[in-house]
């Protein structure tokens, strides 16, 4: 059962360094051979690179546990990244903070209630400028996810 009181809960701010080697590794892992990632000495990061923030977080930085979604019935529904300019480049130090921004319900097409929760992470640079935002939407279905071989 999802906890509606999680809305507004934030984690501690954490630091994330955008590194060239990590950008290169991430390009390889997402089948990119784009020279913008592999050859530029100061490459931008990939559109989904900020997902690697989990390597920088302590448990105290991640408020998702407040949602208390059932892990057996929880799924990643949507993910969004917004950039207020080119994506953060190698060498950028980001200051990130995650907040649970919404919890809402929808009726599933095949019956049953789906409960969605949204976590927004804001990424500021050293000058305090908001450079990127990540929005993760999770869903808890009223039944375990079906097998789809």
């Amino acid at each position: 059962m999802v906890n509606r009181n999680a809305v507004g809960k934030s984690g501690d701010t954490f630091e994330m360094l955008v590194e060239r080697g990590k950008i290169r590794e991430f390009a390889r892992a997402t089948w990119s051979t784009n020279p913008s990632y592999l050859e530029d000495p100061s490459p931008v990061s990939e559109p989904t690179f900020l997902t690697t923030m989990i390597l920088w977080e302590d448990p105290s930085c991640d408020p998702w546990h407040e949602v208390a979604m059932d892990q057996e019935r929880g799924l990643h529904a949507e993910q969004e990244f917004v950039f207020y300019g080119p994506p953060p480049r190698a060498g950028t130090r980001l200051h990130a903070r995650s907040t649970i921004s919404d919890v809402f319900e929808k009726q599933g097409r095949r019956g049953g209630t789906m409960t969605f929760a949204v976590m927004v992470t804001d990424f500021h640079d050293d000058d305090g400028v908001l450079v990127a935002q990540s929005k993760m939407t999770g869903v808890e279905t009223s039944r375990p996810p079906e097998e789809q071989p």
Partner: protein
């Protein structure tokens, strides 16, 4: 499977359901399944090859069907809209990552700046 393991290492998401057969079967799946974020990353690769790594301003995905080891994925996209925003020329595109069955694995929407608007920093 190797692609999945490599993506897991790169992303930091080491959930065992994506590489440990016994664990995945214990959770009711026939085998480990791919990470939605891996398909999303591949769709982003396809989109940035098309419209530029530095030009992207928004990337959103919805996870639809699960993806399994051995699946073949293909990506496609179409321009939905071209417009001016804050003095920049932008395009909104709709993206699809499909499985070999024709089923949609990931739907995506992205915004790119086009026509070289001062991307020089």
């Amino acid at each position: 499977m190797t692609d999945i393991v490599r993506y897991q290492g790169a992303s930091g998401d080491m959930n065992a359901i994506h590489h440990d057969e016994a664990f995945a079967q214990g959770a009711g799946f026939p085998s480990p399944l791919a990470l939605g974020m891996m398909q999303a990353g591949m769709l982003a690769t396809w989109a940035t090859n098309w419209l530029g790594a530095e030009q992207i301003r928004r990337f959103r995905v919805r996870f639809v069907e699960q993806v399994w080891p051995g699946d073949t994925l293909s990506c496609s996209g179409v321009v939905e809209r071209e417009y001016e925003d804050a003095g920049e020329r932008r395009v909104d595109v709709e993206l699809v990552c499909s499985r070999q069955t024709g089923g949609v694995a990931v739907l995506g929407w992205a915004t790119f700046v086009v026509e070289g608007n001062g991307e020089s920093s």
